[in-house]
């Protein structure tokens, strides 16, 4: 079953993230991808995440597709203008990529090429409209194309953004621009997330809760301090601390598994998106402990 059908069938879907490496040695990434095969509803391939230059998302999506994965192409607006974006989307379509995740993208300032010219010719909401237009056989200028795309398009949202109101307004704009599914920024407070879902459920879109695997109390503290829109509650940090250095990752896996189980059992959202960030090989274990495998 492809990703779109899985979501529409009401199945609790699981996706995970694969970050293309910097450089041409993709052995490790292929190994991780192999381990995840047959376990996920889709793999999400990042687009020069954190503005750090790496292999492009499209090539890796194609490799994963050929391996039998269902890839989600992440597309950011940071590096390409409207011509480049549309052209790459058409390219993705003819290569057989069916899912796209439209995002604005981290500023070059966050990455390893700080002097790069930030493009942002269009942004996430407008990109969603572009995809909708390509799906309808026209480019964004309304020019008729020979052959339309057939993308299942999604977007991102930060449920714990502060302040939240403008973020929710943007969420609604993304819905009306054609987003069919949403992947959230990492959430750790299920009760707070439930509040967000109350709002999101007013719209006919699917929502995958974002889960970043906690590897240590230090990492949790770091995210609290430096990553906007992510809050790890003190209780979870205590749990990681109590586990001790050696067992912290194991505790993180338990936390993720527990959250997935709760989200699914209580039908809070439509699925989860697991971001293991360098520990992709732990994804099957998380799923196993969540009772998904």
């Amino acid at each position: 079953m492809n990703f779109r059908d899985a979501l529409n069938s009401g199945k609790f879907v699981v996706t995970a993230e694969i970050g293309p490496p910097k450089g041409t040695d993709i052995k490790e990434m292929l190994h991780d991808a192999e381990m995840l095969k047959g376990k996920l509803d889709a793999v999400n391939v990042t687009d020069n995440q954190s503005a750090v230059m790496r292999i492009n998302s499209l090539s890796i999506c194609k490799i994963l597709l050929d391996m039998g994965h269902e890839p989600i192409l992440q597309v950011t607006c940071r590096d390409r203008n409207r011509i480049g974006l549309q052209s790459d989307l058409l390219g993705a379509s003819v290569l057989g990529i069916k899912n796209v995740l439209c995002m604005t993208g981290d500023h070059p300032d966050a990455g390893d090429h700080k002097g790069a010219k930030a493009v942002y010719d269009i942004e996430s909401v407008q990109l969603l409209r572009v995809v909708d237009s390509l799906n309808n056989g026209r480019d964004m200028m309304g020019n008729e194309m020979k052959g339309a795309t057939d993308f299942f398009q999604g977007a991102v949202v930060t449920p714990e953004a502060n302040p939240i109101e403008p973020q929710l307004m943007k969420f609604e704009k993304k819905v009306s621009a054609g987003a069919k599914f949403f992947q959230t920024q990492a959430i750790y407070d299920i009760d707070k997330f439930r509040d967000f879902m109350k709002h999101a459920r007013k719209f006919s879109v699917k929502v995958l809760a974002g889960l970043v695997l906690l590897k240590s109390a230090g990492m949790a503290n770091y995210m609290n301090k430096f990553v906007p829109g992510i809050t790890v509650p003190p209780g979870l940090i205590e749990e990681l601390k109590a586990a001790g250095k050696e067992k912290a990752l194991d505790a993180g896996i338990n936390i993720a598994a527990r959250h997935i189980k709760q989200l699914r059992d209580e039908k809070i959202c439509d699925g989860v998106h697991i971001m293991a960030i360098g520990a992709e090989d732990k994804v099957p274990l998380i799923m196993e402990r969540a009772g998904l495998l």
Binding site: T104, H107, E123, V125, A161, E165, Q167, A177, P228
Partner: protein
Amino acid sequence: MIITKKREHNDLMENIKNCNSLFLLGCSECATLCGTGGEPELRAMKEMLEAEGKRVTGTFVSKTGCQVLGTKVELKQFKDALAETDCILVMSCGAGTQTAVELFQDKPVYPANDSLFLGNMTRIQMFDERCSLCGKCILDKTGGICPVTACPKGLLNGPCGGTNNGKCEVSADIECAWVRIYNRLKRLDQLEDMKRIAEPKDWSAHKKPMSLNAREKKEEVEK
């Protein structure tokens, strides 16, 4: 106004290494307010150059350095000093420098300043960029705060996921433009403006080089 800052000393000296004599041209408008091209700066530049063994044949702060004809008329009184000099050193913005380039076909003209942005002066010699001259203003839709300029990503449809307690993800020194816009629209009871999806910007309104003949337009109106 156009915000300028003094060029690196070494860059400047490298530019003028083959010039024994210089004429200094400042500007009484923006460059004076920025402290880069008024009387005191010209005096300091003259002293510095003389200390470096150069000769300054004359100095003048033009009324408006980007005004070509006016500057030409003003400079008539310096005919001799200008004939004598090896080069012209312009202490205004890039536009003022190119006024001199147009007026002095046979002499090298060098910029003494780097031109940075169109700025608002918030206090004496403190400047903020609020408009980036995009060619098609959208302030009517954004509560009068320009996201093209104030948001490092130039987003048109609301904040990215990086807003952090109202600060921008790019720098904690920047207030998130979209949180400011949201707060202002809310205060004005105009949040509807933020709910409408903004179309991609038409950057052809900003095609370089721009020029405008306002005279022609006036005549059209008269007809």
